[in-house]
Symmetry: none
């Protein structure tokens, strides 16, 4: 939960939380501690005392032996379509046998993680991590680290330099074309960064100077 910016853990009819629960939470102990004030006897009680806009149920039995009319969506579809301005509850069932049918019936939507049919049942914390991750991926308020892809314009300047080089190589025109195309495809697939464009452009300029 903490990895993906979530704060409110609600426990429904839980067992007693022992030392291990806090230990396993590592640096997110505060989430577990807060859950003590966020405990309910039943799902009904929780839904009555909180104004939840949208209830999402998670299930490990896709397609559904329980209820054929409930076709689950995939976590990615959930992440792409969920409205995070709404008050949303994501329900996870019991480790081992998940949510009961009556609980699934309460949900507005069911989400299920695609998995190997030979071993589709997932550890609840893995299932939660994957669902939270898919939702987080689409949250714009977090500057998602990773590749800072260059701009289209910078990329075009780089391709222009490459084109100038290729034009001077005395190779057949169709080979000029496939050469430039390959370079362009690689650049695009690599999600090239601004810094890398800068470095490569330096190299290409130097090559052009040696041609003069």
């Amino acid at each position: 939960m903490a990895n993906f910016g979530l704060r409110n853990l609600v426990l429904i009819n839980p067992c007693e939380l022992k030392e291990e629960a806090y230990y396993q939470a590592m640096h997110a102990k505060s989430i577990v501690e807060k859950s003590a004030q966020n405990t309910y006897h039943s799902l009904d009680e929780f839904l009555k005392k909180n104004e939840i806009d949208f209830v999402i149920g998670s299930t490990g039995t896709p397609g559904g032996s329980y209820n054929l009319s409930r076709i689950p969506i995939k976590p990615q579809e959930l992440g792409e379509s969920i409205d995070l301005n709404k008050k949303i509850a994501i329900l996870f069932g019991r480790e081992g046998n998940g949510l009961h049918n009556e609980e699934i019936d309460i949900c507005d939507i069911i989400v299920s993680i695609p998995a190997d049919p030979n071993y589709p049942i997932m550890n609840i914390s893995h299932a939660a991590a994957i669902i939270f991750y898919e939702i987080f991926k689409n949250r714009n308020e977090f500057p998602v680290e990773g590749l800072k892809e260059t701009t289209r314009v910078e990329k075009e300047y780089l391709l222009k330099d490459m084109e100038n080089i290729i034009k001077q190589l005395d190779i057949p025109e169709h080979k000029e074309k496939t050469g430039l195309k390959s370079f362009k495809n690689i650049i695009n697939r690599a999600f090239i960064t601004g810094r890398e464009v800068h470095t490569l452009k330096g190299i290409l300029r130097k090559i052009l100077m040696k041609f003069e």
Copy 2:
């Protein structure tokens, strides 16, 4: 691993596996049992004894305080572009402090999971679940085809040609290094195909000829 159709767990310099390891594996005990025959003293030994086409490292420090020249891709980008016909190793580091810099340097590509900057460090089994899930997702939807990535050897010949070019450009040595490194990173991240290597090599050879 079993949830997402993976079978080969390799342990490198592991601690002794106690009862708990087998217990936690639930119905995937066989994966843990098999790992006993799949244990190596060092990463070097593992790579020497197995012909791995592509080494993927996972890291929890995106953007890279460790090494600015290694920009990680996201799990989704990995899942979309990985060629599952190749022999691939995904490295996970130690719980707590991950992979060392020397281990990261060995990797062809680095993958990092976007997370809340307030708590970006992830439990290793959650990180693994998310990366395996992203790879599996794409196995389901597209019948494994996709990019036919080139071999390691072909890629090395290409890099050699690029190195020869850069060496002749009269630029400072550190710029030679970042230039070649950028080119290498782009080639790796793009999962360059055999055909593209062939085309690019043609171009680089022609450039070298013009230098003479």
